[in-house]
């Protein structure tokens, strides 16, 4: 900011704030509308501008979506699979990233290149063989099929390696001189110092699995195993005109994501920037 002419600057600042507010309305209005519709009675006109606000407020739409539409079970399924995928990803990715960032061994860079190369492979390529493997293992309609294939992503290894590399080598050398083995280094030095990185990966992974659609759609056919996105899509297919219930389901799907983002926003933003640094 050069700040030469204060009056002109004041006007420009005001215009900037107006523009920013209008844009913020564009990004948030659909959400507010989604929530308003989720609280309306089915026979209240949904899109009449005179009836933007729900009157009376139908909190029971959430209960009906939860039980009648079967979204409660789906919500639990999504919560469980997302948590399991996140835990497994954090554990295995951090161990592998430690080996790539902090240990010295022959062939390290070659193996890492293989990991890096697969980041480019589209889901569609692995999808069909993976489905056939699940079928062969008789894992279709199982929690294993929902959790395991998503739990070893090369992306997690890549991201955590970026974080681990930023830890100064002197700390590690001092610990090694004190007789720290690799496991102690991992447990007591590297993972505690890289906690922001682990938090970042946790949020990314959780949100990614929470919205994952294609894979759960393919490996589950029984309603008891549907995750929330699949259950919502199948409900929408059957009852496309029940907007209030559909929107209640959408709120159930999006609110936890907004909450997770707001809680971990700092890590999230930092993680996006770390992920783009060429390693």
């Amino acid at each position: 900011m050069t700040g030469s002419n204060r009056a002109a600057l004041g006007l420009r600042d005001a215009l900037v704030v107006v523009a920013m507010t209008l844009l913020a309305l564009t990004t948030t209005a659909p959400f507010l509308w989604m929530i308003a519709t989720a609280l309306k009675s089915p026979d209240q006109p949904i899109l009449d501008p005179a009836h933007v606000l729900p009157r009376p407020v139908h909190w029971d739409n959430f209960g009906r979506a939860w039980t009648e539409a079967g979204l409660g079970r789906a919500f639990a399924n999504s919560l469980f699979t997302s948590a399991a995928i996140t835990a497994l990803t954090l554990l295995t990715s951090s161990l592998a990233a430690f080996a790539f960032a902090r240990l010295h061994w022959r062939g390290r860079d070659t193996v890492f290149l293989v990991y890096l190369g697969t980041l480019m492979v589209p889901t569609a390529v692995t999808l069909i063989p993976l489905f056939l493997v699940m079928r062969e293992l008789r894992w279709i309609n199982s929690y294993q099929a929902l959790v395991l294939p998503a739990s070893f992503s090369p992306y997690g290894v890549f991201l955590l390696r970026q974080f681990f590399l930023t830890i100064p080598a002197e700390i590690e050398e001092a610990a090694r001189l004190d007789g720290c083995g690799p496991l102690d280094l991992y447990r007591r030095i590297v993972t505690p110092l890289a906690r922001p990185g682990l938090a970042t990966l946790a949020i990314f992974t959780f949100l990614g699995s929470w919205t994952s659609f294609l894979w759960p759609l393919i490996v589950t056919h029984r309603q008891e195993l549907f995750t929330l996105p699949v259950a919502l899509a199948s409900f929408q297919e059957l009852h496309s005109i029940q907007w209030p219930l559909l929107m209640a389901g959408s709120v159930l799907l999006t609110l936890p994501m907004i909450a997770a983002f707001l809680l971990g926003q700092r890590h999230f933003i930092h993680g996006i920037q770390m992920g783009s640094v060429k390693g």
């Binding site: 920013m20 990004t27 899109l47 589209p122 390529v125 692995t126 069909i128 090369p154 294609l214």
Partner: protein, 304 residues
């Protein structure tokens, strides 16, 4: 001392193996093996119910080949070319989205103390992307009762049929893409990139009489090249394989295939018609296209 020294010379091979093993096993089984299997599968004809039959490159010939007909050369699989066209058309949204992200980042830079609040509000759509948003937009884009056409009607424009119309379905999806992506990851990356623009350079340019546009064109934009390059590379990779989730929920690939993308076509062949080999062949072609596009982009990007 000596023990530590000799270990660092030997390397940590044994330990590295143990650390790597849990992830490497899963990675090999759920990523590496499927990639190889997809390539192998593309050489077979298999509908899941009969024995797989080796057909060599026949799937690729059926997919990419042309044959001579009385009306001239015709593609063996016209749908593949049509859906490739759809995918490329939807990818035209990428530069628009990137420009919007940059615009928002530039605006936020002027935002001072309000920057974090507005960044959060702009980020919300991209964080919530997924089925909930698709259901919501399906309704926003409803031609008769949707909010968008109601708003357009207020200013005297008769809104198009959006997802119900062959011509407007793709622009409708692109509009949703713009709404959800503009304030997302790319904006955050540009915000970080803008922090690395040396303020002395900008001030020097201002002293030399450069206006806002001049400063942007000659100082800010060149400094953002690495960020733009990264964003476009990721955009290309995602763009070629994108479009399934939204189309599945909002349009079922229609009307009349106008929103079917390559990834949707793979899904149809594999899981609707059980043409496992043919679907794998399309996936392998997709992988090749992404590989070549990324390589070209790298070459072009590193020359800059």
């Amino acid at each position: 001392m000596t023990a530590g020294h000799s270990r660092s010379k030997r390397g940590d091979f044994g330990a590295a193996l143990l650390f790597l093993l849990p992830n490497a096993l899963g990675f090999s089984f759920f990523t590496l093996f499927p990639v190889a299997a997809a390539v192998a599968l593309s050489l077979f004809d298999w509908n899941l119910f009969t024995e797989p039959r080796f057909v060599g490159l026949a799937n690729f010939a059926d997919l990419l080949g042309f044959r001579n007909t009385p009306e001239g050369w015709a593609p063996n699989d016209p749908r593949f070319w049509k859906f490739t066209g759809n995918t490329l058309f939807l990818m035209l949204g990428i530069p628009v989205n990137v420009a919007a992200s940059l615009g928002l980042a530039l605006l936020l830079r002027r935002g001072g103390r309000l920057q974090v609040t507005f960044r959060t509000l702009y980020f919300l759509p991209s964080i919530c992307t997924g089925i909930g948003i698709y259901v919501m937009w399906q309704w926003l884009l409803n031609p008769d009762s949707g909010a968008l056409n109601k708003i357009l009607a207020v200013v005297g424009i008769a809104g198009p049929g959006w997802l119900k119309s062959y011509e407007w379905a793709k622009p409708g999806l692109m509009l949703m893409g713009l709404w959800s992506a503009a304030g997302g990851t790319n904006m955050v990356l540009y915000l970080a990139g803008l922090q690395n623009v040396p303020s002395e350079l900008e001030e020097a340019a201002a002293l030399d009489g450069a206006g806002a546009w001049g400063r942007f064109r000659h100082v800010v934009w060149p400094c953002l090249q690495p960020t733009t390059f990264f964003i476009l590379t990721m955009g290309l990779i995602h763009g070629f394989q994108g479009g399934f989730d939204a189309a599945y929920v909002m349009t079922r690939g229609g009307p009349d295939g106008s929103t079917t993308t390559i990834s949707y076509y793979i899904f149809q062949h594999a899981f609707r018609w059980f043409h496992m080999g043919y679907a794998a062949a399309i996936a392998v072609v997709l992988l090749g296209v992404i590989f070549v596009a990324t390589a070209l982009n790298w070459r072009w990007g590193s020359r800059e």
